[in-house]
Symmetry: C2
Subunit: 194 residues, 2 copies
């Protein structure tokens, strides 16, 4: 069976704790800022839950109704679901796959722009990255004050390290561009990488 997609993993992660209906999962994910880690949209979540049910990784646990509202289906994780959840995490941890972020593309085509423009744009990015670090630090300070153990926010620590590394690279590159260590002449020459 193919590896679960990120949203399915996030869905199983909340169902590991207790049975829930999809909208409750949705709210819980937003409350926990899971939407910073996984693309969470209500529409996609309902479809993901349907697929998990079809594959037997979750089962209908109960169907409730309040007033004239649509019927809520509460789902519970199955043993198969728990196994698939753990397997997927265990397969994602060691495997470094290319996910084609946009920035390397922009960097790879930056030679089409004038040097000064690139310096300016990278400067803006540096500021953004600094703001991101500050926001991550604030979040980490908040949960730390609540006494949340580090292992529950390990991903935030990882993200912080990565953003800092990118900031370092951007600043170093700006430097190389301004000092001239990184040559930027003949902007309209033919692409020489063959």
């Amino acid at each position: 069976m193919p590896r679960l997609n990120p949203l399915a993993v996030a869905a199983l992660a909340v169902l590991v704790e207790q049975p829930m209906h999809p909208y409750e999962m949705y709210q819980l994910m937003l409350q926990r800022r899971e939407d910073h880690v996984v693309r969470v949209s209500a529409g996609s979540l309902y479809r993901a839950v349907e697929r998990l049910a079809a594959d037997g990784l979750i089962v209908e646990h109960a169907t409730e109704r309040e007033g004239n509202r649509p019927e809520r289906t509460v789902y519970a994780i199955t043993e198969q679901g728990r196994a698939a959840f753990l397997e997927t995490i265990a397969s994602m941890l060691p495997d470094h796959v290319n996910e084609y972020p946009e920035f390397p593309l922009a960097v790879g085509e930056a030679h089409n722009l004038p040097r000064d423009r690139v310096v300016e744009l990278l400067g803006e990015r540096a500021e953004q990255l600094r703001a991101t670090v500050a926001s991550l630090d604030a979040g980490l300070a908040r949960v730390d004050a609540k006494g949340v153990p580090t292992r529950f926010v390990l991903n935030k620590h990882y993200s912080r390290a990565m953003v800092l590394a990118e900031l370092d690279w951007v600043l170093a590159t700006i430097d190389d561009l301004t000092t001239g260590a990184l040559d930027w002449s003949s902007p309209h020459g033919p692409h020489p990488v063959a």
Copy 2:
């Protein structure tokens, strides 16, 4: 108008050099290892080219035919296309957007696995990352030997820096797990981040 998607940018990038038919773009991208930077599949490329033509960013330059083969439509970039290409690059460079990589999700759910397992899996990732660095270094050495200026392979330098940073974090985390500096007890407790 909305920002061009990565494949459209890559397509315009090759059309900036000279008019081409889609399959030629496809081959050129593979030859230049653009498929390491952007998701390139023939099917998607043809659709992307259709859309670019519909939006007036490229135009039919000629239609050729050899023997009984399907007719090849050669496209050329327009002034609008060139402008959109440069604008998109210029908008991607400063903007740091979350693209939801899988690894942070796995790290965030790793507390569901036993500590020793996590150490083992992260060790495997470290090895993979080292191999990736080696492969990037080999590629950079190859183009350097050809005398290709650095600015045409800036993205490879960026990737190398990021992979190294991730390797650092993984090794440090393995260390924290083995020394016990990073607590891993009560693996089945309730999720405390609310």
